[in-house]
Symmetry: C2
Subunit: 188 residues, 2 copies
DNA sequence: GGTATCATATGATCAAAATCATATTCGATT
DNA sequence: AATCGAATATGATTTTGATCATATGATACC
């Protein structure tokens, strides 16, 4: 378990924001102001290409962080959109940078957070390299990606939801997974 | 340009290693000892799945670094294989951690290095989400991925090399790229 | 209670990339 | 010079996932 690096920050520097489903916390190309901690709810980082098809790059749930890398960037590189109501705490860029100057312990923990992200992205890229829809879906479920809807799972792993439904059905037929209800599949 | 964070480290803590094509610097699941700086040559980080098909996760050339995230990990998560002869400098995990304790400037620069990686991986995931072989190949070339062989480009972007060759040919026919020689394609 | 919306689910069709096959060229090695 | 291996290149075939269409169950909202 990674210790929370931000417990080291002065509390008055943070402020809590209540969020509703659909709320936009920031958009691509906007000037960065800081990173966020998710207290409750869910926020996804996504990029929309020319033709409306959105791509989920990160999904932060309760206890998670997002936009950590923005601290070293002038602009945000994706949209942050709330997909589940809750609240987030915004931590200002300047606070992070000054905490890194003054507190080596904070530095190490914050850096660790980024290192974990790097490894997560590597795993994700490895997952996307799996050609077969069935195999990719299985790997995603095993990796814990399936914590919401099938459609959400499908978009995260670059599959059409139809292909994902079929993959889940096949995995059930193969005796690798079981359907425990409408839209509820679990590994055996 | 990112300042080199490692100029802050004591030089006697590093040692240069000459590498030949095919050399393995570390393998997946080996205990981490540190990160590397590429002086010359090329090293790829790759993971091999059950069935021999290798996946390139990172490619470090002269001036680059690799295995930065290993500083916070017990084991390496992929293989480091030399694809072009040259030399690398190994920087010990303990040196990084102690430098982070004592030098806030180093901390910031090292963290920045990781933040850049996070953004690169995000871009890569975005690239992989492009369905069309032609579009994906074009995006990859524009992003500077094509600096070696077509086969290497193809594997990096999860395409069969045949599909990649065809994509390049189509892009030439479309007047978007030009063939300037055997296995040499450039953007117009 | 009725309606709208969304996730679930599956069938049918089509486009496109993987795969298989094969030929050529280049560079390295013997 | 001959051989080998690897990259380049393209054609033919097959597989498979995207797309389109459609139906249903659940939830939210008025």
């Amino acid at each position: 378990m990674i210790p929370d690096p931000f417990s080291y920050l002065p509390t008055d520097a943070s402020r809590t924001i209540d969020i509703q489903k659909g709320d936009v916390l920031f958009r691509q190309n906007e000037t960065t102001s800081g990173l966020y901690h998710v207290v409750s709810g869910c926020v996804t980082l996504q990029r929309s290409s020319e033709l409306g098809n959105t791509l989920t790059l990160h999904r932060a749930v309760s206890g998670g962080y997002f936009a950590e890398a923005s601290v070293f960037s002038m602009i945000y590189h994706c949209d942050a959109i709330c997909t589940e109501a809750g609240s987030v705490v915004k931590i200002a860029k300047t606070d992070i940078l000054s905490a890194m100057q003054s507190d080596p312990m904070f530095s190490e923990r914050f850096t660790r957070l980024l290192a974990v992200q790097v490894q997560q992205y590597r795993s994700h890229i490895e997952l996307l390299a799996i050609l077969s829809a069935k195999e990719r879906t299985l790997a995603a479920v095993q990796a814990g990606y399936y914590d919401s809807t099938v459609i959400e799972l499908a978009t995260r792993i670059n599959l059409s939801h139809e292909a994902c439904y079929r993959a889940l059905r096949t995995l059930c037929n193969d005796g690798i997974m079981t359907k425990i209800g409408r839209g509820r599949y679990v590994l055996l």
